[in-house]
């Protein structure tokens, strides 16, 4: 049974509202939460498509959360889905910020708030690590162990040792894949 457009847009709105309100540590901390909603909860995309969204999102400048919300909203619910997902991702926290600014001045230094914020980082770390593991396991299925490991090692060298920007490697891989002939095994 396919849901009406309105129902889909409502689901989009709620899922990005949830991720926006739960992501402590800025946009990147919301990536595993968005993955959970989009791939597991509502099954709007499979892991491969979500991987493409992440890869391009990381290759383009600007905040990552709004790129994910805007594109996924557009892809699933059209223009209205995009607007809904963006509003859900952005507006509540902006409103809180404007409304609570005077209250926040005292609130910010409270040790309870600082403790709460600190406790989120390890959880986000675990979520991101699980997502990383999930992508790696899938890439073994797609590419075979030797190629998956070699590409991971190259990625670690480029990102961690050389500290180059991801766009260089992702761009090179995209160009390589699109301009050379696929061997049977890889495709």
């Amino acid at each position: 049974m396919t849901k009406s457009k309105w129902a889909v847009n409502k689901d989009l709105f709620i899922s990005f509202l949830r991720t926006g309100l739960l992501g402590y540590g800025g946009g990147p901390s919301t990536i595993p939460l968005v993955h959970k909603e989009v791939v597991h909860q509502y099954k709007w995309m499979d892991d491969q498509e979500f991987g493409n969204v992440l890869a391009l999102g990381n290759s383009l400048p600007g905040p990552i959360m709004t790129k994910m919300a805007g594109y996924i909203g557009y892809r699933i619910g059209g223009f209205s889905g995009m607007i809904g997902a963006l509003i859900a991702a952005v507006l509540p926290t902006v409103l809180l910020m404007v409304a609570l600014i005077s209250f926040l001045v005292s609130f910010r230094d409270s040790s309870i708030v600082q403790g709460m914020t600190q406790a989120i980082a390890p959880v986000v770390g675990v979520l991101l690590f699980m997502l990383a593991f999930n992508f790696f396991r899938n890439s073994i299925k797609g590419l075979g162990l030797p190629i998956a490991i070699s590409l991971s090692v190259v990625s670690i060298i480029v990102y961690v040792v050389l500290n180059w920007h991801p766009v260089l490697l992702i761009g090179a891989l995209i160009i390589y894949a699109l301009t050379t002939k696929p061997k049977k095994k890889e495709a």
Partner: protein
């Protein structure tokens, strides 16, 4: 005129800043504090600290708030639009192109080839969060929270939302 300056102040960091919202904050500071002098460095620091106490993407919180301070609701909308729209349009155009050819073997191969590199990017990001936690909360709390959240998320399959709420409670009690 303020609206135009607001637009520029958030448009430029949005299109030259790589690495997500937190990475473009320093670029926003250059525009907001140094170029257009909407606020002092100290005020900017205050707003940033308060933004960090709230959940959600940081770049849009800064844009929405600073826009509102400078030019009211319209200013807020202009700053948000400048932050979000340019890079989102590029994203939609590129991914639509990709989806058009999604059944071609070349695009399938591309999807497969970029997956390990995305895994590594996510792992690096994970490491950064662990590192932050190690410096802020210390090694003992970090290990407790990592083990607990792993068990709840992976073994007991609890929804991340609940685990995050649980961690907030843990932080309020044990880390304050």
């Amino acid at each position: 005129m303020d609206l135009w300056y607001l637009f520029l102040a958030f448009f430029i960091p949005g299109i030259v800043g790589y690495g997500g919202g937190p990475a473009i904050i320093p670029l926003i500071e250059i525009e907001v504090v140094q170029r257009y002098e909407f606020m002092t460095r100290q005020e900017f620091g205050e707003v940033l600290a308060m933004g960090n106490a709230l959940p959600g993407p940081i770049a849009t919180k800064m844009a929405g708030y600073i826009g509102f301070e400078v030019a009211g609701v319209l200013g807020s909308l202009v700053a948000l639009a400048a932050t979000v729209i340019p890079t989102l349009v590029a994203m939609i155009l590129l991914l639509n192109l990709l989806n058009k050819f999604k059944d071609s073997p070349k695009v399938k191969r591309m999807t497969a080839l970029i997956r390990p590199t995305i895994a590594v990017l996510l792992a690096v990001l994970a490491y950064q969060f662990f590192e932050t936690s190690y410096f802020d909360a210390g090694i003992v709390h970090t290990i407790i929270l990592v083990v607990l959240s792993f068990v709840f998320l992976e073994r007991l399959n609890i929804h991340p939302a609940l685990v995050i709420v649980g961690a907030l409670a843990y932080g309020a009690i044990f880390l304050s």
